[in-house]
């Protein structure tokens, strides 16, 4: 098969420039990596705008972008639910209500919070499942990147995988979390600059929003109007969208996934940490501009997505085909660099989260306890090598799953969905006991897995795979919630003194910032108001 896109020297120069800058940034950070906290948490020294943009970009991987453009071509405007329902409320909640416990308790990882709030077993369960999930994600990023480059440019899979792995390895090995975060911020700007020309040209050609509205049919043009039943492009009803995606999956991911929370923990103070997800929520609301619009444009301008071709359309190719359709060499190199950057930073983020959890929560807890800090710094650095190696292996496993985004949702719903119940009760109900937390979490994960098996075996049925995922998350969350409360009623309560700083009501309220325009609550309220307005606008 011939590659879709042909690059020239200018495009390659743009790609090479990015890789050069990333390696140089990683190298120049090397001298600051003196302690474990420097390597794993950027010395808790970064300003809010950097951690905020990194918080957003950690999730804005190439999989997310390509998958969401595909979703938009498939489901239409309803794709905005992944942003305005499925992200903003959770991000604001994390910043305003949960960050005081995360950052205020000075924990270094999410599982470490579980250790302090519940017990060692709960930490172990979360740390091990997270480590596995993170490596899977890293492998997915890597595989997706290699596949894309093979399809687009004809590069062989193995070479792409090894090349990306070596670059990521170099800069994470040198600069740890800081390298990861700096790469994410650079990626943030590249994504916008790389993809906006497609949005601009697409809208120009189809005649703007009015042109889209005139040419596409109703269900593709409304986000909420058709959610009354599951008889809409998503195949999910309002309960599945609001409770499954908006509440359980979204809160489970944004508030407990260490990959994103780690960015906030790298902030220089509590106020910046609380502002991190709230700053991120504003560009997050705008991401549909670069994913939903291209998806809709693809339906109108690409012959591959014409009405006759739809049943066999390769939705995941929508973005690449648009790049070929619109971008001249030069801008093409920029767009490809943007995707490359989001692939690499996705992988770097996963590898960094993996080496932090491994070093603090697994190695430092179960294998070698109480060694000097320098020992763990070294372990973290070498775990990076191991993490990259496992990712390369994983890259070959994920090939059998056609819709990568659905696969991501599947993994999230096993591990992350129940977790939010554990955190919600842990942070806001002092009566949750150590073993209540553990059994709740375990039963939640098993419920998700059991539901998945039942669905695959045909015991339960839904209108779409996506509906199954949303409902699976909901049931897993509910099981965790109920079991945590149930077991807590019959097991030993923790001494309230031990829970100071970890639970609402036993923790001093964070000081209100003297200037109103620097207060998380103010910006959080604005973010929610804007998100509500956007939902109404695209009803």
């Amino acid at each position: 098969m011939n590659p879709i896109i042909t690059l020239n020297a200018v495009d390659y120069a743009i790609i090479a420039g990015y890789i050069l800058v990333m390696v140089l940034v990683g190298y120049s950070l090397k001298k600051y990596m003196k302690t474990g906290e420097d390597f794993f948490l950027s010395g808790r020294s970064l300003p809010g705008w950097i951690t905020g943009l990194a918080f957003l970009s950690a999730n804005l991987g190439a999989l997310e972008i390509i998958g969401m453009v595909a979703n938009s071509a498939k489901y239409g405007i309803a794709t905005v639910h992944f942003y305005w329902v499925g992200a903003i409320p959770a991000m604001v909640f994390l910043g305003i209500f949960m960050m005081p416990f995360y950052y205020g308790s000075r924990v270094r990882t999410v599982p470490e919070y579980l250790k302090l709030r519940y017990n060692e077993a709960t930490r172990g369960l979360n740390a091990i499942s997270f480590a596995i999930m993170t490596v899977l994600m890293s492998g997915i990023s890597l595989y997706a990147m290699a596949l894309l480059f093979k399809l687009m440019l004809g590069w062989p899979l193995t070479q792409s995988i090894l090349f990306a792995a070596v670059v990521v390895l170099l800069y994470v090995f040198w600069g740890g979390l800081s390298s990861s975060i700096y790469n994410e911020v650079i990626q943030f700007f590249l994504i916008w600059l790389g993809l906006l020309p497609i949005v601009f040209l697409g809208l120009k050609q189809v005649g703007g929003f009015a042109g889209i509205a005139a040419q596409l049919k109703g269900p593709l043009l409304h986000s909420i109007k058709f959610l009354g039943t599951s008889n809409n492009p998503l195949g999910v009803d309002w309960f599945g969208v609001v409770m499954g995606l908006g509440f359980v999956l979204s809160f489970g991911y944004w508030t407990t996934d260490f990959l994103v929370v780690q960015r906030a923990l790298a902030s220089k103070n509590l106020n910046s940490a609380r502002m991190t997800p709230i700053i991120a929520s504003f560009p997050k609301m705008l991401v549909p501009v670069i994913v939903v619009i291209p998806g809709l444009v693809a339906l109108l301008v690409l012959p591959e997505f014409s009405q006759a071709a739809l049943p066999t359309a390769e939705y995941n190719q929508a973005l690449i085909l648009l790049m070929k359709h619109y971008l001249p060499n030069g801008l093409l190199g920029l767009a490809i660099t943007a995707l490359l950057a989001s692939f690499m930073s996705g992988m770097a983020g996963n590898v960094t989260a993996f080496n932090t959890i491994w070093t603090y929560d697994i190695y430092g807890t179960y294998i070698r306890k109480g060694r000097p800090d320098a020992h763990y710094l070294k372990v973290g650095k070498y775990t990076t090598v191991v993490g990259v190696a496992i990712s390369v292996g994983t890259a070959y496993i994920v090939q059998s799953f056609p819709n990568l985004m659905d696969y991501m949702q599947l993994i999230f719903s096993f591990f992350n969905a129940p977790l939010f119940a554990t955190f919600l009760l842990g942070m806001f109900w002092r009566g949750a006991t150590a073993w209540g937390g553990f059994w709740g979490l375990l039963v939640g994960i098993l419920t998700a897995a059991g539901h998945y098996i039942a669905y695959k075996a045909g015991l339960v049925s839904y209108h779409s795979d996506m509906a199954a995922n949303f409902y699976q998350a909901w049931w897993a969350w509910l099981a965790d919630f109920v079991v945590t409360i149930g077991v807590s009623l019959f097991t030993a309560k923790r001494d309230p003194k031990e829970l100071a700083g970890l639970v609402f009501g036993l923790t001093p309220k964070p000081k209100t910032h003297p200037r109103w325009y620097a207060r998380p609550a103010v910006w959080g309220a604005i973010a929610v108001a804007v998100a509500v307005a956007l939902n109404v606008l695209f009803w």
Binding site: L29, W49, L193, L327, P328
Partner: protein, 91 residues
């Protein structure tokens, strides 16, 4: 913006020790600024030397030129912000 907010004293002694004292001195605005301006210059020059036919796919617009100039402005903005901050810190 939020990076000017100082609420010191929220940390424990441990966290305010070695990790905090040197921080991360590398100003991220510099690599972003250099990278984007270099891209801008490259795209602008490329836009100037390429023929009109190449831009048939981009609806006849020489977007390399236009986008290149935009990127010089954005990248230059970052460099300016970084130099102003540096001047303020040393002055």
């Amino acid at each position: 913006m939020s990076d000017t907010i100082e609420t010191k004293g929220t940390g424990t002694p441990e966290a305010d020790g070695a990790g905090m004292s040197h921080g991360h001195v590398l100003d991220l605005k510099l690599p972003i600024g250099w990278l984007l301006s270099a891209y801008g210059v490259l795209l602008t020059v490329y836009g100037l030397v390429t023929k009109k036919e190449m831009y048939a796919i981009s609806l006849g617009l020489n977007l390399n030129l236009a986008w290149g100039i935009l990127m010089i402005v954005v990248g230059g903005g970052f460099l300016l912000a970084a130099f102003l901050k540096k001047g303020k810190a040393s002055g």
